[in-house]
């Protein structure tokens, strides 16, 4: 496309301005994190003597190794379970089209509009009643359930578009429903399952409300939940708070930079289909 020179520069300037708007906040907290702990620096100011030790202090105060282990534990219990059970359900609804699958689909899609806050109160009392309140399981189990509307819908969209000849051929060869699922359709569903895995991992890592309500001990939470508690304790120590925030952001940012193409595609498809 041919574009006028003036438009070219106006457009690039706008983009550069918006990129600065996106990046400056990160630079600001990074510089602030290097100021002496307990001081109140200005928003964007390189310190005379950078205090790299702040990162170590924040690392210890936020009990980062425990928090990290806890987040990993929660992600590893939520994501595989979500993938397995939503793929199975999506297969039954989208491909087997069992009687009642329309009703089932409607039931799951209905959940797409439910904000977490709408149902968090009974979840709290339910978990107290069954005795899992204040454990990592208290976050993991409801999260798996809360992902079901999206995850089932996502997998169903994949299975509904699979050609039926494939299944019929397998049936003629004598495949049972389980063979059909495990040997033929699961290997073909790798791409949507991988995207779903990326999405649910990010969402779990960043989950805050469930942590706040269901787990009092910050070291039993996810990264975002732990950060919320850290902010509660060190709200007045800006450099330390910034250092802690950066430490918690680093894993997410690293993963984003490594897998940016997959993550962007997954998040976009996720919203279009969802």
């Amino acid at each position: 496309m041919k574009v006028a020179r003036s438009e070219l520069w106006a457009g690039r300037t706008l983009l550069l301005a918006l990129m600065a708007f996106t990046i400056l906040p990160f630079i600001s907290i990074f510089m602030t994190a290097l100021h002496p702990s307990g001081t109140v620096p200005r928003g964007l100011e390189w310190p005379a003597h950078p205090q790299w030790i702040n990162f170590v202090t924040a690392f210890n105060m936020a009990e980062m190794p425990k928090l990290f282990a806890s987040s990993i534990f929660i992600v590893l219990s939520v994501v595989p379970a979500t993938l397995v059970i939503s793929t199975m359900a999506g297969f039954a609804i989208g491909l087997l089209r069992i009687p009642g699958s329309r009703v089932l689909l409607f039931l799951f899609v209905f959940g797409l509009t439910l904000p977490f806050q709408g149902i968090i109160i009974p979840i709290y009392f339910l978990e107290r009643a069954i005795g899992i309140y204040n454990t990592r399981v208290a976050i993991a189990l409801p999260l798996i359930a809360l992902y079901m509307p999206f995850a089932v819908f996502w997998m169903r969209t994949h299975f509904v578009n699979m050609p039926s000849e494939l299944s019929e051929a397998a049936r003629v060869d004598g495949a049972s429903t389980w063979d059909l699922f495990w040997r033929i359709h699961v290997p073909l569903a790798r791409a949507p399952v991988a995207s779903l895995g990326i999405l649910t991992s990010i969402w779990t890592w960043n989950q805050f409300l469930l942590c706040l309500v269901l787990v009092e001990d910050p070291t039993q939470r996810t990264m975002a939940g732990g950060l919320g508690a850290f902010q509660g304790h060190y709200a007045n120590n800006v450099p330390l708070l910034c250092a802690g925030t950066i430490l918690i952001l680093v894993p997410t940012l690293l993963i984003f930079i490594l897998f940016q193409r997959q993550i962007i595609t997954a998040l976009l498809q996720g919203s279009v289909k969802g």
């Binding site: 690039r12 928003g43 429903t177 389980w178 952001l249 962007i264 919203s271």
Partner: protein, 311 residues
């Protein structure tokens, strides 16, 4: 259990002789496949959903006996300014979380589409998308510092000679909500821009070329081609961002916790405070039900309008 050798025969035979038995068996197995998902969903989503509705008709402090109060909690939600006010605030937030990111996102997407197709464009895409992957809590903490009295925003205002308007943005009754809204713009702009951009790349370039041959300006092109053909993507952006606004919690909780006064209080925040600090479970549940109804009422027309035109 059958062995795999005799299965083809059984299947072929059963199709003729015992169709019902085979169908019934397959249905049964199919339902087994959905059971784990269904069970989790029912236990942790559907049951709590129904319980929220049930709680909303009671007065309850979470431990003592429950007292039936009919629709009194709903009446309170409408009458108490602090409660109904959260719903007004939520709609105000829609302007910031939804209209600005979608509007600005359209402009950004068309700029990238027209002038930044190469390296620069892909860097811009990655950078703008960045806030979407970080935790909202982290976004809130970062902006809490930027908007503080000694923070970056005031520093920049002073640098351009606007020291008169510097203030603690999040502590100001008038400016706290727009300030929180800015965080929403920061988080959601890139998401909307990139989503709209992917839609734009699917538009046939020949349309633009013929428009340009007819001497159409950028604005005419934008209004006559881009917007109508992107209706589906715009609908998706609106749906996602409107839900983000109405159900906002994380950003507001870490920046203002609803304050100062109730100037940034939204339903999510008020539900949390009512239920878990004031122990007014019934009232909190009534507000939760209203929030869920509100989301459906707002989302359905958006979905309906954009889906119809997509065909």
């Amino acid at each position: 259990m059958e062995t795999s050798d005799n299965r083809p025969k059984v299947l072929v035979n059963s199709r003729r002789t015992y169709p019902n038995k085979r169908v019934r068996r397959e249905t049964f197995v199919g339902w087994l496949f959905t059971l784990p998902a269904l069970f989790m969903y029912a236990f942790f989503v559907l049951v709590p959903f129904l319980l929220t509705i049930l709680y909303s008709f009671f007065r309850w402090n979470g431990v003592g006996p429950m007292t039936w109060v009919g629709v009194k909690n709903y009446v309170s939600v409408f009458q108490v300014p602090n409660l109904i006010g959260t719903i007004f605030n939520a709609f105000w937030l829609v302007v910031w979380f939804s209209f600005i990111p979608v509007g600005l996102g359209l402009i950004v997407a068309s700029v990238i589409h027209r002038v930044a197709t190469g390296r620069f464009g892909s860097v811009a895409r990655t950078v703008l998308f960045l806030p979407q992957v970080i935790a909202l809590v982290a976004a809130g903490i970062i902006w809490g510092w930027l908007l503080a009295l000694p923070g970056l925003i005031n520093q920049m205002l002073k640098a351009v000679g606007l020291s008169v308007i510097t203030r603690a943005w999040l502590g100001d009754f008038h400016w706290a909500l727009p300030s929180v809204g800015m965080v929403g713009v920061w988080v959601l702009l890139g998401f909307c821009a990139i989503l709209l951009l992917t839609g734009m790349t699917k538009i046939d370039p020949a349309l633009y070329e013929s428009a340009r041959l007819d001497g159409a300006s950028w604005v005419q092109e934008f209004l006559a081609i881009t917007i109508p053909l992107l209706r589906h993507e715009i609908g998706v952006c609106l749906t996602v961002t409107v839900i983000a606004a109405l159900a906002a919690f994380d950003i507001i909780w870490v920046t203002t916790a609803g304050g100062p006064g109730n100037s940034t209080s939204v339903p999510g925040i008020q539900i949390y405070i009512l239920a878990f600090t004031q122990r007014a479970i019934g009232l909190a549940s009534a507000l939760a039900v209203m929030l869920m109804v509100l989301v459906v009422i707002v989302i359905l027309p958006i979905q309906w309008l954009t889906r119809e035109s997509a065909q």
